[in-house]
Amino acid sequence: MATKNSRTFDFKDIESLEVFMTSHGKIHPAKRTGLRAREQRRLKRAIKYARFLALIPFTS
């Protein structure tokens, strides 16, 4: 359950996911995204779902 301040990610919202990715399609580390561990895990999952559905590339 997402708390008040924690951030959630939707795999369908490609534009917001691409902010946290490099131009080659890699996920930025938490150090760079500034997300908490739980949020970073949510981001990772959303990106992986989007990749599976061919919404974003695995690599480029």
């Binding site: 795999f11 599976f52 559905l53 061919a54 919404l55 590339p57």
Partner: protein
């Protein structure tokens, strides 16, 4: 034993070749297949038609169908097997969610006229064959020299010809005599 039902968000990727025949037919096939396994389809709507980030089975574009379902875990596993074997679905994703958003519930089973679903033709990209770069032909330096400067044998012949053209007086005078003449002149200057 009663199976506990969960709420799932599902995304189906439909083959454009099948959707061209009729979007509603493809959507209905997905709906009936889901219902066959006891899944309660709350929402099923067109999410979009777009280019794939990477080709899947030779397909470069696909139609995305979004659904919100109420189903048991076993039913989801079984229906996945059938979806991949038959019909227009070539990829699907089921995610367990807490609740269905109200905006989605308002959509319900979306009815769209087939003519409204416009699917562009997949244009096969013709690979441009690059012609190999050919350097302009340049004659080798030796040949160029040969054209500019004649060979030694030719040169001597030409030299002879040139000498033949020269007046006879110069040719008759020996080199040594000419030097002697000059020495005499120097002596005269010194006196």
């Amino acid at each position: 034993m009663t199976e506990h039902k969960h709420i799932y968000q599902a995304m189906f990727l439909l083959d454009n070749e099948e959707v061209r025949k009729g979007f509603n037919a493809s959507r209905d096939w997905v709906k009936t297949t889901l219902e066959k396994y006891g899944i309660d389809v709350k929402v099923l709507r067109l999410w979009g038609e777009r280019q794939l980030a990477y080709p899947i089975g030779g397909r470069k574009r696909a139609t995305y169908l979004l659904g919100w379902l109420e189903a048991s875990g076993d039913a989801v596993n079984e229906v996945k097997r059938e979806l991949y074997l038959l019909g227009p679905v070539f990829r699907c994703l089921f995610l367990q969610e807490d609740s269905i958003p109200e905006e989605e519930l308002a959509t319900g089973i979306q009815e769209i006229a087939d003519s409204e679903v416009i699917i562009p033709e997949e244009v096969e990209e013709v690979e441009e064959v690059e012609e190999p770069y050919e350097e302009p032909y340049e004659e080798p330096e030796e040949e160029q020299r040969a054209t500019e400067e004649p060979a030694e044998g030719e040169k001597s012949e030409e030299g002879e010809k040139a000498e033949g053209d020269k007046p006879e007086e110069k040719s008759e005078k020996p080199v040594a005599d000419a030097a002697g003449d000059n020495s005499e002149e120097v002596k005269k200057d010194g006196n």
